[in-house]
């Protein structure tokens, strides 16, 4: 008998069927991956189990007994632990304090006093058993994200969870931390716990899971054993069609759009983040900026976009409008952080879409907005960019991450910019949405747009760029032609140990 069985779970939100008659079961000692694109209903399904939502219909059996939790407290008492996408920790408290927080008896003898020493000992025991190394006395805000995640897992284990749910646990982790987490999960499964691992990354679930259930548009597209499937089958289940990587035609560069020489830019702390960088960008080509996060890419794009001061050097945008206001419409900017710099989360979709072009035709004049035209344009964008949204009047915060990104893309491409700055355009997106964004970028390039693509994903850089510039510690390590370079060469340049000449020299 499986530990958990969910039968025909249906959950609707106004305008969306988030879960549509989903069947799902997990055994003890099993790692069961829940795979699906953003918005496919993974989190909703688990929230229904965890007592955060009440499903409209369907039943849930835990150990053969029908359950229906009305709050996480009941779910925890029944042995279910959930590590949410956003951690639920109290930053100024220590690890032990966070873990015992909310428990009625914080110690074994049932006294009302806190006994943190005993608690810490037990936590260390649990941690040691599963390779979850942690400093129990550290305050949570001091810990890196990976360690905070371990605290969340320990919190669940401390409450004797038999079933552990992890919602997109790898989204916040570096590759090496992912490896570590997978080891931890294996150890937990070996000790008899059931684990539900939510993800939208194919390779990851192939590596970690015993079985994989795929959700598509709120429905169960299938449950397969990891040993009997392959990434392309999973992709098909997930997206509903075959995924073909976009093919890049050779570029036909036109007139220069961006001309940079010896550019230096400071970051928010006043340190020099871009240090004497020079390059040019032409119509109809994609220049990829490769590099590990935090090597000046952000400051470089912000300087080009006109939202960060240039300290020194030359930054010319020939052919672009000279006035500041017009320049913002000539340059499309898909920013790195949709929440802080991309969208107005509580504003309607049409307000977001028209933000940069309000006050000019066809969206009105300086004295009035043509709301009808703005809504119509948004309805069209929802269609062309296949944004999953019930209409133009909902707030942007309701959209899933991938659909928010599409909305940003729709706005920035919709202006018909001459130059597009695309910073991490597919960060946090699933396969289908990533493929879609890539296609749009290539199509825009073929139409003559100049695109500066900043990405830390080497695959993305190689798939889209005509030329590649590698940045390391604010400097350009060199520029290479995408067709003539190997991953290894770029990898070396990204780690700063080789300039272009040395790298190509050692590679050849």
């Amino acid at each position: 008998m499986p530990l958990l069985r969910m039968e025909r779970i249906t959950k609707t939100f106004p305008g969306v069927v988030a879960n549509d008659r989903v069947d799902f079961a997990v055994d003890r000692g099993e790692i069961h991956a829940l795979l699906g694109e953003n918005g496919s209903g993974k989190t909703t399904l688990m929230n229904a189990l965890y007592g955060l939502h009440r499903p409209d219909s369907g039943r849930m059996l835990l150990d053969g007994e029908e359950v229906g939790f009305t709050s996480p407290i009941d779910a925890i008492a029944a042995g279910i632990g959930m590590v949410h996408q956003h951690f639920m920790l109290v930053p100024p408290l220590t690890v032990v304090e966070n873990i015992v927080l909310g428990l009625k008896t914080a110690n074994a003898r049932g006294s009302p006093l806190l006994d943190l020493r005993t608690a810490a000992a037990r936590i260390r025991e649990l941690a040691a058993a599963h390779g979850l190394d942690i400093d129990t006395d550290a305050q949570v805000w001091q810990l890196p994200v990976g360690a905070q995640q371990r605290v969340e897992i320990l919190k669940a284990l401390y409450r004797d969870a038999d079933l552990l749910i992890l919602d997109e646990p790898t989204a916040v982790l570096a590759p090496s931390e992912v490896e570590h987490l997978i080891g931890v999960l294996r150890s937990l499964a070996a000790s008899g716990k059931a684990i539900i691992f939510i993800s939208h990354k194919l390779n990851e679930v192939m590596e970690v899971a015993d079985r994989i259930s795929v959700l598509r548009g709120g429905r169960l597209a299938g449950t397969v054993a990891a040993a009997e499937t392959d990434p392309s089958e999973l992709a098909r289940l997930m997206v509903g069609r075959d995924i073909v990587p976009p093919r890049r035609r050779s570029s036909r560069p036109g007139a220069p759009v961006l001309w940079i020489e010896d550019l230096s830019v400071r970051d928010d702390r006043g340190l020099r983040a871009v240090d004497g960088v020079g390059f040019s960008l032409f119509e109809g080509e994609i220049l990829g900026i490769a590099g590990v996060d935090g090597n000046g890419q952000k400051e470089l794009t912000e300087a080009i976009a006109g939202v960060r001061a240039v300290e020194d050097g030359r930054l010319d945008l020939p052919g672009l409008a000279p006035s500041r206001g017009a320049r913002f419409r000539d340059i499309g900017h898909v920013t790195e952080d949709r929440h802080q710099t991309g969208l107005l989360m509580s504003f309607r979709l049409w307000e977001n879409l028209a933000l940069k072009s309000s006050g000019r035709p066809p969206f009105g004049s300086p004295f009035w907005l043509r709301v009808g035209a703005m809504r119509d344009a948004t309805v069209r964008a929802i269609e062309t960019f296949s944004i999953k949204a019930p209409g133009p009047d909902i707030p942007a915060s309701v959209l899933s991450g991938g659909n928010q990104q599409k909305l940003v893309l729709a706005r920035e491409l919709g202006l018909g910019p001459k130059l597009l700055l695309a910073a991490q355009p597919t960060r946090g997106l699933d396969v289908g949405a990533t493929e879609y964004v890539h296609r749009r970028l290539l199509a825009a390039r073929d139409d003559g747009m100049a695109i500066l693509l900043v990405s830390t994903e080497l695959d993305e850089i190689l798939a889209l760029s005509d030329r590649i510039l590698v940045m390391y510690e604010g400097r350009a390590m060199g520029q290479v032609n995408a067709d003539e370079v190997t991953r290894e060469t770029i990898g070396l340049m990204m780690s700063g140990i080789a300039s272009r000449e040395a790298a190509t020299g050692s590679a050849s």
């Binding site: 991309g342 969208l343 107005l344 006050g359 300086p366 004295f367 009808g372």
Partner: protein
């Protein structure tokens, strides 16, 4: 009605029902206090209602008091849409009153329409200048507008006090007040017994214009964008500092008009400390009106009615008029309570 407007209906209904529920809860909770004070809540509330809207005179008084509250409520709401907390409506009100009175007294021989228009424009600009000082300090110097507007209140209020004690005192200077504004600067009176002039229509008109500006102009959209996320606004090319300055200036101008309409709509002369705290009540009005200009109109009416009805309640039941402050406070607390509940629900969903 357009589809976009129709889409707003559920939201407006929700906001309205929350405000109404908060009012009902506040009245219910205050009923307990009234009982404890040994009076009958029903009798007390009936007297309150009679005193506020029971006859023409009462209604006139309430409407006359509604006018300045609409303006100060609009002022606070407008700034708040740009994520600015304008605590300085009181000071801006005095600035507006001063400018309008000076124009009303010393510019003579003008046709009434022009004279009134000038007094209104002057009041708006003086308030805007006073609000703009805080806006400048915030946008160019990074000085928190809450602090600066509180400080600027004192400056404005005591500067006016100084003026009516000396330079602007009506000859021969026995009383600490200015002369009366010229007949041509006075707003047409609707109901003389309760000092009700057409100022109430001007206030409602400004509320409609403010709503239009906020929701239907690029300026309003960008201003609200700055209020929602400075990062997103900046990256979309909105000159954030200019909008912060602009929002504080317009906010100050609206508050200034509260002073203007008091001067040319019924009082006709400037006394020191003439405002019973309209600027501060404006904060509560904006809050109850959920920073929506139309909501502000209704909230202003409610607060005015409570204040005006309080006297009748005191005469009938002996309850102190300060009970009204308790009710007002509780309305705000209950709305805050709902806001906290909403916040929790959203966190749970997220």
């Amino acid at each position: 009605m357009s589809e976009a407007a129709a889409a707003r209906i559920p939201e407006v209904l929700r906001a309205t029902s929350i405000s109404l529920a908060a009012i009902a809860l506040a009245l219910a909770a205050s009923a307990v206090l009234i009982l404890l004070a040994g009076a009958d809540p029903l009798v007390a509330y009936w007297a309150l209602l009679q005193g506020a809207v029971g006859d023409g005179f009462a209604l006139g008084n309430t409407l006359a008091r509604t006018t300045p509250l609409i303006f100060t409520g609009l002022a606070v709401a407008f700034a708040f849409r740009c994520n600015l907390l304008n605590i300085g409506a009181e000071g801006q009100l005095y600035a507006g009153a001063l400018a309008s009175v000076v124009i009303g007294i010393y510019l003579t021989g003008l046709p009434a329409v022009l004279h009134i228009a000038l007094a209104i424009a002057g009041g708006f600009m003086a308030g805007a200048a006073w609000g703009g000082v805080a806006g400048y300090l915030r946008s160019a110097r990074g000085i928190n507008e809450i602090i600066s507007t509180i400080m600027l209140n004192f400056v404005a209020i005591f500067f006016v006090s100084y003026l009516v004690h000396g330079p602007l005192a009506e000859p021969p200077g026995f009383f600490h007040q200015t002369a009366m504004v010229a007949e041509s600067a006075r707003l047409p009176v609707l109901y003389a017994k309760s000092d009700l002039s057409i100022a109430i229509f001007i206030a409602v008109g400004f509320a409609l214009v403010t709503a239009y500006v906020l929701w239907r102009t690029p300026f309003g959209l960008k201003l609200r964008a700055v209020g929602e996320s400075t990062g997103t606004a900046r990256f979309a090319g909105v000159p954030v500092n200019r909008y912060v300055f602009g929002a504080m200036s317009v906010s100050g101008g609206l508050a200034g008009l509260a002073g203007t309409t008091e001067m040319i709509g019924g009082q006709y002369r400037l006394l020191d400390f003439f405002s019973p705290g309209y600027g501060f009540d404006g904060i509560a009005v904006a809050f109850l009106g959920r920073s929506d200009p139309i909501g502000v109109v209704f909230a202003a009416f409610l607060f005015a009615a409570l204040r005006v009805g309080a006297n009748q309640m005191q005469r009938t039941t002996g309850l102190p008029t300060s009970l009204i402050l308790v009710i007002q406070g509780m309305v705000i607390l209950f709305i805050l309570g709902v806001a906290v509940l909403e916040w929790h629900r959203r966190r749970r969903r997220g």
